[in-house]
Subunit: 226 residues, 2 copies
DNA sequence: TCAAAGTGGAGGCTGCTTCTCAACTTGCGG
DNA sequence: CCGCAAGTTGAGAAGCAGCCTCCACTTTGA
């Protein structure tokens, strides 16, 4: 039996180092993808990205067999940043500020990058890398909400699933207004937060979605944003 | 000089009565359009509508030169209903209930008809008939909000434009959840309403959109819903 | 009865995206 | 400095979806 290759040993494909020009192009493509996804959302075409990167489409397809591979490469890191900021939020002493800060940093991320909501909230984009990154997010959110609830700083009928749904809602405002007045979402963010406090006690008239219904809901709610 | 035709006199094209079969088909097309727009939103194609109506595409195009003519024919009446329910809301004694009832009936309309938000909130669909119908809505909404403000039943920094924006937000929840649990929007409706009450006093951190920016915002925010 | 009105739906057109391929260029180990 | 594997390119194939036209045919009603 022959010696195993590094690839076999690690079970992750070795990246035999790319030729220098190829690596340079890869970086150009990643940079272009980052910019374009941020500016115009997930609906940009790989042709657009090739143009912006100053390379041919063929080069893009050689490096990233499909759009999701590129998404994977680009968003794993962005999501890790979100996870980090969620952890930072969770580390705050004040359970209410913890929730507020988490939601706000999520919204800021959406404001800076049109595509991030689609990737984070649905399961329709990217491959395993993105999935794994997202898997770390959900329990932190749950902790943040549960802690707020235990501390009595949110209305008692608030559910975990209300947080992503609120993100979705505010995201629609963001999309509508980013070209006119990119900060207006903060008005509705404030309204939503005030509506979540325990002082706002009109009982919520309907059961919340289960957390496991959220991906499906987001798939529908963001279908249009690609 | 020949006698003027009725058309010239009225400046509205006379509808010389259609042949019986043609009129029957027209009704079939309208019914199909109503159903399909309600079920699937404005993005249904005229081909789809022809199928549902059981007529050929050609027949649809003969009767309605473009999608917007059909939208005009279908939504003028729906919008008139909205105007009526807004007036009914305005007629209530309690200024707060007035606002709540208006918004709720608007949401109900959205729940029953996927297309109505796109038609009512943007200026991108339909022709003059729809425009004229909508023109009657805006001043009523303004009155409802102003009265609520004068009575001190909403936070003082609430703007008129916050109402359509809230509709947009809640609409995104509705779209996301209608197939899972069509009433969940009421949770977020409640949260939003609680956040609009004067007890919720975190000051709104950003100026509201002008009412005349609303159509543009809605055009962006609903672009995806067609 | 028959001209005018109306019909259907295959198919042309346009516009968009994804992805391929064959001819060409470049980097680098020997 | 050479040769070739690796890389590049971009036109265009292929596929799809929607919009709308056209004309041989049917139906209506004066």
């Amino acid at each position: 039996m022959p010696l195993e290759t590094a690839e076999d040993q690690a079970n992750t494909p070795v990246e035999k180092p790319l030729r220098r020009d190829a690596e340079r192009n890869r970086q150009l493509i990643l940079a272009a993808g980052r910019e374009l996804f941020a500016e115009r959302g997930l609906s940009v075409t790989l042709d657009d990205i090739a143009d912006r990167a100053g390379v041919g489409v063929g080069t893009v397809y050689r490096r990233f067999p499909d759009r999701d591979s590129l998404v994977d490469a680009l968003f794993t890191e962005r999501i890790a940043e979100l996870v980090a900021s969620a952890q930072a939020a969770l580390a705050l002493d004040d359970p209410w500020q913890s929730l507020v800060q988490f939601m706000r940093s999520h919204m800021r991320a959406q404001q800076e990058d049109r595509a991030i909501a689609s990737v984070v909230l649905t399961n329709s984009h990217g491959h395993e890398a993105v999935l794994r990154a997202k898997a770390r997010l959900q329990p932190i959110v749950a902790q943040i909400v549960e802690r707020a609830q235990a501390a009595g700083v949110v209305r008692p009928d608030l559910a975990i699933s209300d947080v992503p749904m609120t993100m979705l809602m505010l995201g629609s405002v963001l999309d509508a207004t980013r070209d006119l007045q990119p900060d207006v979402w903060e008005r509705y963010f404030t309204i939503a937060l005030d509506g979540m406090r325990p002082t706002a006690t009109t009982p919520l008239p309907c059961a919340a979605l289960d957390t496991d219904q959220i991906p499906e809901a987001m798939r529908c709610g963001l279908a249009n944003r690609r």
